[in-house]
Symmetry: C2
Subunit: 120 residues, 2 copies
């Protein structure tokens, strides 16, 4: 394994105007689902991440189209990721895509695609 | 297992004035750590939660003292939980306790202690 920093990145939509608690729950959901994908893929990477402080970064995109674009791009690159679709029981219509979890994975591989995105 | 709703509750401090991204990352951290505690404790409960939409609720307390009080209370009740201490690399001093993850666990057991807390 390269000596590359391992991190998890979560991308959220800024156009949904979710409340802080709702937003945080979506980020947590994306984080956990993506963690499971990564663990299925490479247990060494997830173990290393858990043992080194679990770096997590939250970024934002403008809308659902951009979120799905990143999802497809990371899937194409075979980077473990998970797209969260809200059940729509509270603030949002059912099926709304809210957040994308990526990794934990090699930071350099994630950064190639997300480097231009602002922090939430 | 009783036919009780299984959920995860995350409690955060409202006095820290973290940015939205920082806050969401702390909630995700609490969620994942507490998930591992719960899984070690009772895999049936975590599997049931994962298979039923992973209900997560984010609540708030006034300060660190209140956060630690809830942590101690849930430990005393033997409810799986995890207290997040921030490494202090960005917005907060090292060692700051930011969030408490509880469960996934039987909702009725969690509610007994948290029923009076407001949503974030």
């Amino acid at each position: 394994m390269p000596t590359d920093e391992i991190k998890q990145v979560i991308i959220v939509r800024k156009d949904l105007e979710m409340g802080k608690g709702k937003l945080a729950a979506q980020v947590a959901h994306a984080s956990l689902m993506s963690y499971f994908e990564a663990e299925r893929n490479d247990k060494k990477i997830t173990a290393s991440w858990l043992g080194s402080g679990e770096k997590k970064i939250v970024l934002k995109v403008n809308d659902e189209e951009a979120l799905v674009k990143f999802y497809n791009a990371f899937q194409f690159k075979k980077v473990p990721c998970a797209l969260v679709t809200d059940a729509g029981l509270t603030e949002l219509p059912p099926g709304t895509k809210t957040a994308l979890g990526i990794g934990p994975w090699l930071g350099s591989e994630i950064d190639k695609l997300t480097i231009s995105l602002p922090l939430l």
